[in-house]
């Protein structure tokens, strides 16, 4: 499954990142690397973007980008 398919409150472990180019680097820089644990905290009122918790902080990511990140649910 992908990060975009999580429901609020669910946790997952990152398997791989399908994004390419500058955005891939940025995603890695922000700490979304293979094996890291991520929790989906909530979704913005208009349905997008997502509010994620990882490495002790909160990160906002668009669904479109989250859909390219493969995860396994915990």
């Amino acid at each position: 499954m992908t990060l975009g398919e999580l429901r609020p409150g669910e946790r997952a472990r990152v398997l791989s990142i399908g994004t390419q180019g500058a955005m891939r680097q940025r995603i890695l820089d922000m700490g979304i690397t293979p094996k890291v644990e991520i929790q989906l905290i909530k979704v913005a009122p208009l349905g997008d973007p997502l509010d994620l918790s990882l490495r002790g902080y909160n990160l906002s990511l668009r669904r479109h980008d989250a859909a390219l990140i493969e995860v396994e649910k915990l």
């Binding site: 500058a22 955005m23 891939r24 680097q25 940025r26 995603i27 890695l28 820089d29 922000m30 700490g31 690397t33 293979p34 890291v36 929790q39 909530k42 979704v43 913005a44 009122p45 208009l46 349905g47 997008d48 973007p49 509010d51 918790s53 490495r55 002790g56 902080y57 909160n58 990160l59 906002s60 990511l61 668009r62 980008d65």
Partner: protein, 678 residues
Amino acid sequence: MSTIIALAGNPNSGKTTVFNALTGSRQHVGNWPGVTVDKKEGIYTKDTSLTVLDLPGTYSLNPFSAEEIITRTYIVEEKPACVIDVLDGTSLERNLYLALQILETGVPTVLAINMMDEVREKGESIDFKRLEAELGVAVVPLEARKGKGLDELMREVRHTISTNRRPKKLPLYTLSGSVDEDTLADRRYSFITSLVEQVVARSGKESGAVQENRSDKLDKILTHRVFALPVFALVMYVLFAATFSESFLFIPGLSSPGVALATLVEFLWGTFTEFIASGLLSLGAADWAYSLVVDGVLEGLGAIVGFLPLILVLYLLMSFLEDSGYMARVAFVMDRIFRRFGLSGRSFIPLLMGFGCSVPAIMATRTLDSEKDRRITTLLCGFMPCGAKLPIFIMFVSLFFAEGNKTVVLFFVYMLSLAVSILVSLVINRIAYKGQVSNFLMELPQYRLPTLRSVWIHGYEKVKGFVQKAGTVILAATILIWALSNFSLSSFTAEHRAEEGTILSAMDDSLLASVGKAIAPVFKPLGFGAWRPTVGIATGWVAKEMVVVTLAQLYSEDVSEEYLQEYFSSMDADELNELGFGEGVYDSDLAFGIYTESILMEGSDTNALSSIHADIPNKGAALAYMAFNLLCMPCFAAVGAMKRELKSWKRTTGAIAIQMGTAYVVALLINLLGSLVW
């Protein structure tokens, strides 16, 4: 030469607080060459031989954004004596990522772990000795908001410089010859994960479990599925109303802080102008000198001074929102809408402010994340129907549209401004930025109560920057328009002086009128190709409400003394008093000023300026004229702000050309459609 210490760190790490605490008010804000990023320098208050340079806040040194390129280039090429990397102790893992990249460059570094009070509150403790041993650089705990730890930090900085202590080579990079950034990022984080496991101890609670703090609880309400939007609307209303509203918190007659301050400043400025004016008269100054000082210089300076309260109040509130962490939530909430136009949610605030005044709105674009968003939003701010454009619309609505249509027409103007903004944004995105999507990967920082000191410094810096960078543009342009509208080619001939007894010319005889006559045919296709409306557009650049005043001056036959006397004769003493005639007695000297300010701008006289109908023949042309004034170059004050944000005259004139072109095309379409309808 003074020793330079560079301050680096993630956004929201408290880097700016550290900078303010170290340098006090001895700051100099400039900009990095070619980009819209601030370059702040200051002298360390306790040792003036040390200069502190505030690098842009970044999450990494990988060269993708202007901020990262600046930081990387500076550290690698300029080689500061020492880098202080400020880290947010509550999210040490992510903050250490930048720290590792800085250490990789081999530059002398001191790590300052900030927000230690919050770390303790979380029930965590950090083993600084261990961290220091693992990384080979000094590590200092910090509570920058309370000023705790700064002296120790600077002691370590001096020690690092004097002993030329450099970070040690970390094992993870020496594993193999060349590795790509991808693997490197993974390795850095693996290294950090094991490092954090060794140095961070969590007491009491089970390690790893995410526990809810005050910030999380607050966020549950502020970005709640149902409550988020109402709360958001309320915050935006307060932000807007506190700056611009004349009936603050819906209490009629209660001025908002912004308006109250602006009224006070205008009153003081008015008194000052009168003082100078009467002084000049009593000194027997020539009429051109009097006019230059009063209508040129003081008018121009007044335009600068008049904007200061709005900028100050708006900026105090904006930096409160920014520092508290709510601004990131604004972007979070609005992103979905603005993404469609190629922008991100953060553009919402500048554009909203544009409805009040373009000047603070344009300056607010500085808080946007990307250069592209900053440039496009600055351009769009000029399209917003600001408070000063309103009198133009109101006058034209009352002259050309029946009373019942008033609201519909005004609504049309607002919608037009939004539609044009969206369209222009989409087109620029497509053409200039090849449809490149704004990267949206944004930290949602912890909510923190901002310190008064930092909020004040932000507000003060903005006001100072506006005066320095935009002041000269506004003053020069105002004096230019003054000269054009008060002199003619024959002004300096002996005949003119003999005939008129002055070198000044009447407006309808002026150079501006001549230029207007030459340019007017350009506006023929828009329906208002006559010289008087053309001149009106030009004086609107001094201040948009000047369009109304100028038209009244130019159609002087419609505002004759007899007309005014007859118009006001229907009013009783109370009404006259309320309009500003002292003791309710009609005074022909005051009549013109009161008529333009209180009658024309409010749209109260539907029979006003009857000869304008010859120049602007129908409703379509009137709408086109309104649209042109709405969309064309904003006032000089806004142009000054644009120059400040866009950093170069080339980009500023480019933006103005787009605004002019857009205004022309839209007005043309309106006139064409109008001729079909009416």
